[in-house]
Amino acid sequence: MPPPSAVASADPDLAAAPARPQRRARRTTLVLGLIGCLVLLILVMLLSIAIGSKQIPLSTVIDALRHYNESNTDHVIVRSLRVPRTLIGLMVGAALGLSGALMQGVTRNPLADPGILGVNGGAALFVVGGIYWFGLSTLTAYVWLAFAGAAAASVAVYFLGSLGREGATPVKLALAGAALTAMLGSLTTALLIGDVDTFDQFRFWSVGSFAGRGSDVAAQVAPFILVGVVLSLFCGRVLNAMSLGDDVAKSLGQRVGLARLFVAVVVVLLCGAATAAAGPIGFIGLTIPHVARLVTGPDYRWILPYSMLLAPILLLGSDVIGRVVALPGELQVGVVTAILGAPFFIILVRRRKLADL
């Protein structure tokens, strides 16, 4: 909520909105910005392939991509470790950014992150349960467990939130999600406290990392994320209508309940797959949409693509830095993302006039 003075001196863009040329100029700026983000993203991806704990000359890296030679260790490192890892970073980032924007749009709450539907809580409980009862310890097993947990939890949250005659209102969804997350968190901790070995494995999953994820994990989650990305890019118009409030959205001909269900399904696809691949990474889904909103204003048709590109830039960039700063070991991407991203986020929040939800 801006102070009164800010209302008086409102955004000049907004005041001149009806003027056509201005609007077109704004659109051009936004498209250029999007292209800029894309270029930056490609750069970061190349960095992520070129840089790692083992120093490999750039020419060898390019060689590995163009003329793969199985007997060359450096080639194997690039092809079977760095490329899948980069792809996973790209997918997880895009998925988290998009699902965060979707979630904030559908609940109209700046505090909603994709985890608020219970995705992270459910995934964590299932992974811990898998370790505790079945002694599972492979990443590929975690992926399916996490995905199943995420889906189960979000179905439960959606069901709880939509009980009663008004259906799933934003506040009820948010509260039901937070409440169920609380419950699942309790159960998870109960299992962890009783068993040191489970805790020992879980703490490395729960910090959020790309380490050791190979092409098998990438292949497991890719279909879900691709479908989710495509579907989510259709949600912009719907979210714009819903951001005016349920009543206005209805009077504009929007089928609010159906739209909300659709968005929720997309969020589960995206965030579930992302959590499955990399563990719960909280910060990105929560903050990237706010950064995008600072650039684009409140139009979700722009917020969504910007979130989709900005999130993997931050995620992959953090991953590269995490690999370099703590040689010979590495810092988990979840840690670096927050430590790098949060100060930047705070500066942005301080600098710019906030686009309220």
Binding site: L160, G164, K172, A179, S186, R203, V207, G334, I339
Partner: protein
């Protein structure tokens, strides 16, 4: 306004006030009953009647020792911690005008946790030292949050976002420290992070009680202004409230309450989040139902500790494991029911 309309409004208001009062009294009775039951259970069971007698100074020597020396500090710590968390959550949620805002989510407790885990894992400290670190962490986080959010005044929205940012840093530091530590020490840190009342003594009760006594007058004074603040900054300015001063005062109180509670028992999760909305729905109060929130916080912690101590045989769980399971289903039930009767929300 016609006289008739005035009468209708007055009647509705009176009905609501009666409801608030009844709910508060019932809650107080239930809290006291839970308190007595928790004092009566243990290795040596004491009938609840004797517990009540002992509390009012009429018990024999043995029960007095067991109740007053062994069990009372823990139970009282639980009550005070719960009350503090409930009040702190109610203030945060009203100031931020967001049902998801609570010291857990805004980052104050995350700051406390990061400092405490640092003390446990890296400096190998225990006990009071860890509590001191926790308080320092909470206060520092809140201070940073407020200073960074200040720009011609603090808007609630900016405060929340900055809180999230700082909270994210603190959380990732915590998980990083947990992965670096030896697993036994990490486990010990996990118990602290869950929130536990095991082995609490009179020193904890004393520090909590002093905090309450000091803060109470300010709370009474400022909570009144909270109702105006809730109408939004512009309206509050218009009504002549000094918005920044009141908000700062309320945040300081909420942070201190959360900090002291966290120092005493660890960051017991979800109490601050879950108590205020339940209180609001029970009292049907339009504003923050402060007293009911405090009582509900106490009730959630007391009930959870009862379950954690006695429901699993010999295994004593930390109370924080249970709070989520005790509070959450009830909130969900209320959410579902409130809407069926038609009051949205």
């Amino acid at each position: 306004m016609t006289a008739e309309a005035v009468q209708v409004i007055a009647r509705a208001r009176a009905a609501r006030q009666t409801r608030s009062l009844v709910v508060t009294v019932v809650l107080a009775v239930v809290v006291f009953a839970t308190f007595c039951v928790s004092l009566s259970l243990g290795d040596f069971k004491i009938p609840v009647i004797d517990v009540v007698k002992t509390l009012f100074g009429g018990g024999d020597h043995a029960t007095e020792f067991i109740v007053n020396t062994l069990r009372l500090p823990r139970a009282l710590t639980g009550l005070l911690v719960g009350t503090a968390l409930g009040l702190s959550g109610a203030i945060f949620q009203s100031v931020a005008r967001n049902p998801l805002a609570s010291p857990d989510i805004i980052g104050v407790t995350y700051g406390a946790s990061a400092f405490a885990v640092f003390a446990i894992v890296t400096l190998s400290l225990t006990g009071v030292a860890v509590s001191a670190f926790a308080i320092a962490g909470a206060v520092l986080t809140a201070f940073l949050m407020y200073v960074l959010a200040w720009r011609h005044g603090v808007s609630s929205y900016r405060l929340i976002l900055i809180g999230i940012g700082i909270g994210a840093i603190a959380t990732s530091i915590t998980s990083y420290l947990l992965t670096k530590a030896r697993v036994e020490i990490a486990q010990q840190a996990l118990i602290w992070l869950t929130g536990s009342l095991n082995g609490r003594d009179w020193s904890n009760v004393r520090s909590l009680a002093i905090t309450f006594v000091v803060l109470l007058p300010f709370m009474v004074f400022l909570v009144h202004q909270l109702r105006i603040l809730q109408l939004g900054d512009e309206t509050a300015y218009g009504l002549g409230l000094r918005v920044e001063v009141s908000r700062l005062g309320l945040i300081v109180i909420a942070v201190l309450l959360a900090a002291v509670a966290t120092a005493a028992a660890g960051p017991i999760g979800f109490v601050a989040f879950v108590a205020p909305p339940i209180a609001r729905r029970l009292t049907r109060s339009p504003g923050p139902a402060m007293i009911a929130s405090g009582l509900l916080g106490a009730l959630v912690v007391a009930l959870s500790d009862l379950v954690a101590q006695h429901a699993f045989g010999d295994m004593q769980l930390p109370v924080g494991v249970v709070t989520g399971v005790v509070g959450a289903p009830y909130l969900m039930f209320l959410l579902a029911r409130a809407n069926r009767v038609g009051s949205g929300g």
